[in-house]
Symmetry: C3
Subunit: 320 residues, 3 copies
């Protein structure tokens, strides 16, 4: 595996999930694989779960880890070519990426969208240039349009907790006070659509009018503006807010009827409730659910380690 950026980077969702679960059962079996190998984690934006879980995964594999927080002022990267760098950017991504690639065997990069210019964000220009210039395998720690380690984690978690062969999974939009990226829902959707193709899940997306995701990620999904209807027979409800893709980055006001609570949970098949965290309690998701028996959010966060570990393991095997 040379990069882990989207679901296209795995040939079989089922296989990568089984390999992750095998690592969960025996976390330290591959310590030789990472010996003398260095993982560099580059954060252009803050991170809690992604940083800790990826660091843990790398240590489980015997790797060294170096963390670079470049989210501060003073290290603005230039990404455009042909620019005379007489302004505020201090280093071009061509040099910055190449240099980090010299010190690290594998790199991870987190870079959020600006939510101003859809074309710019969806071009994934920064990410693609980082991959191009660093010269080593790159793991996405969340990019402008996707969060693949989260989505792989989610599929691992669904596999662990499913009670039927082919559970019904609903991605349910939820209210928030800020304009959030589409990266998590895009990514979840493309992984679930692939899992559906493999016969692993039955996938539905429910969102208010105006919050339709790009079709690039949702082909094959059942899509609805009716949450109650969508929740019927659901085995898993994946709660998440996102801003508009059509009117890019727009938020149409918080509609509390879309908050997931016990009343809506009663419409489901005793569904397990998931969220990538951090979650706004009693705005996106009710406390009664988060503190109750149907919530998987902590176990889901815990599984981030195994998603990261299987990806790093595959990359290390390709390096060897």
């Amino acid at each position: 595996m040379k990069k882990f950026f989207s679901v296209k980077d795995v040939s079989s969702v089922a296989d990568v999930v089984q390999e992750a679960l095998a690592l969960k059962a025996a976390p330290y079996d591959n310590q030789d694989l990472g010996q003398h190998k260095t993982l560099g984690l580059v954060f252009l934006n803050p991170s809690l779960r992604t940083r800790l879980s990826t660091q843990k995964a790398a240590m489980n594999l015997g790797m060294n880890v170096m963390v670079m927080n470049m989210d501060k002022d003073g290290w603005a990267l230039e990404t455009q070519d042909g620019v005379v760098m007489n302004g505020t950017t201090v280093e071009h991504i061509r040099e910055a990426a190449a240099v980090m690639g010299e010190y690290c065997d594998i790199l991870g990069l987190r870079s959020f969208p600006k939510l101003k210019d859809r074309e710019e964000d969806y071009s994934e220009d920064l990410f693609n240039k980082f991959i191009k210039y660093c010269g080593v395998p790159v793991v996405s720690l969340e990019s402008a349009t996707r969060h693949p380690l989260q989505s792989l984690t989610d599929m691992i978690t669904i596999t662990e907790y499913k009670k039927t062969e082919k559970p019904k999974v609903v991605l349910a939009w939820a209210p928030h006070v800020k304009a959030l990226p589409q990266a998590v829902p895009n990514s979840f959707a493309e992984w679930m659509c692939k899992a559906q193709e493999e016969g692993l899940v039955d996938f539905t997306i429910a969102q208010p009018m105006g919050y339709e995701l790009s079709e690039e990620f949702t082909a094959g999904a059942t899509i609805s503006n009716n949450l109650e209807e969508s929740l019927k027979n659901a085995d898993f409800v994946y709660v998440k807010n996102w801003s508009s893709y059509q009117e890019y980055g727009e938020v149409y006001g918080v509609d509390e009827d879309w908050m997931m609570d016990n009343k809506k949970l009663n419409l489901t098949n005793d569904a397990k409730v998931m969220h990538c965290l951090p979650v706004r309690r009693d705005l996106e998701l009710s406390s009664e659910i988060l503190d109750g028996p149907n919530s998987l959010v902590i176990k889901e966060a815990s599984n981030r380690v195994w998603a990261a570990q299987v990806v790093l393991k595959r990359m290390l095997e390709d390096l060897a």
Copy 2:
């Protein structure tokens, strides 16, 4: 040991000090204990000594260490229940603590008081909730009301340098320009009172009127407003500033008569002088003392490693 928050978490001060000194004599004897174990250090406030010494202690024990600096803007934790999270807090401590507990075998937490509302600070609400929700052993790296790793360090240092069976130890208030927490003196007082009960020291507190600590921490101590009188026959003088507990967080002006200097040192039994650092030179404590033969401040800071190491060792033994 499931938590290390106050002196109540050790059954015998004498025993834990002896165990720490044994570790100092053979720092790497327990490297197997920490194999594949991860310590997470969470800082809501800055740290120099605590961070480095605890990290060193963990490495001595063969542990992995992950550091989370959450003192920056952008990761404000909600601690209250029943709040609709539509404001500036981005994550509830219920989730944040639980998730960190999934990635780490032991957690350390630093969280300073706000010095606005005594009841709130002294409830140690944040700390208690962190312990409750993370589900793993927690070491205090200084909380609103206590700094137990510092106090254990101080007792180790007193034990190493004492010339008599039961030395006289004086906690002496000193001037400062800022309103500082009572955590260090509270904690020192409760450890010395327990040590006094065990027959290890004779303990006196000297502070100006208005700076009395809470009786919760000082029961058994000799308390005085007369510094010169208190210093007579002292074997150790522990210099520290703190703000008022009664008029919570107040500072009554810098009284330089309370600065520790050679003239006052002459009143003692050639006492060793201690301070938790950082120290304001020639405001709290004179340069002549800090640079002279009676100062233990560097050796004391050095002993922070062994305090952290004995606590982590006991926690690891309980995990095993």
Copy 3:
């Protein structure tokens, strides 16, 4: 080796370069040397290459690494003696350095000049006090007047890529928009002058009038204000901006005739082009050179690891 601050800390440039190249050929041969040894890296200013490469070098030697970023507000160090510390500095360098020396076997320090007061910057007061009070070997990670790990790296790179016994090396001033320190060119100059004494290079400095470096660093070099003339027969061109030493910290406007480009490269002996990075593209150095076959900048950055590793190895050998 007790400190690594200037070229005076190595007896032979040729020898240290050969030892570094031997480490490059066998990076993990000295892992026992660093066992149970801790490197502390203290940054008063930001760092990308220096931090990652030094961390990597230490890990290659089997050392533990602890990083302290003290570039933030809230940990201002006092360096003057005899000051009543009732202002904004929170800790004196006497204590801060001594404490870090207790936790670490070797320390690295980065501290940039303020470019206000030449005498203050060139006294290297902070650096010298840090060395004096910490009590352990210290590696400069760039100080007010020198960047020796960079210069050693540069000599390693020149040795690797030279095509003649004694190549002609030109340090060429280049334009910038900010006032930059003289540390990199000072240091490069003193290393090249020493290398010239050892018969390893032929060294020329070209800069506009007013940008003359201190003679302390340039004794023995050919110095010119004519870039085109200097570039003739050059085998290596080292491009770098710096502010004025004479009118300390001044910048006389960006003179684009001094930007290194292919037209100027044609004057050389097909010279390899070097830069310490970060580089301002098309301001200091043209993109056509950076993206072309004559650029060594990435390989040069990569060699930072071996410069750091040979220095740490020599310090560890002295500790043993």
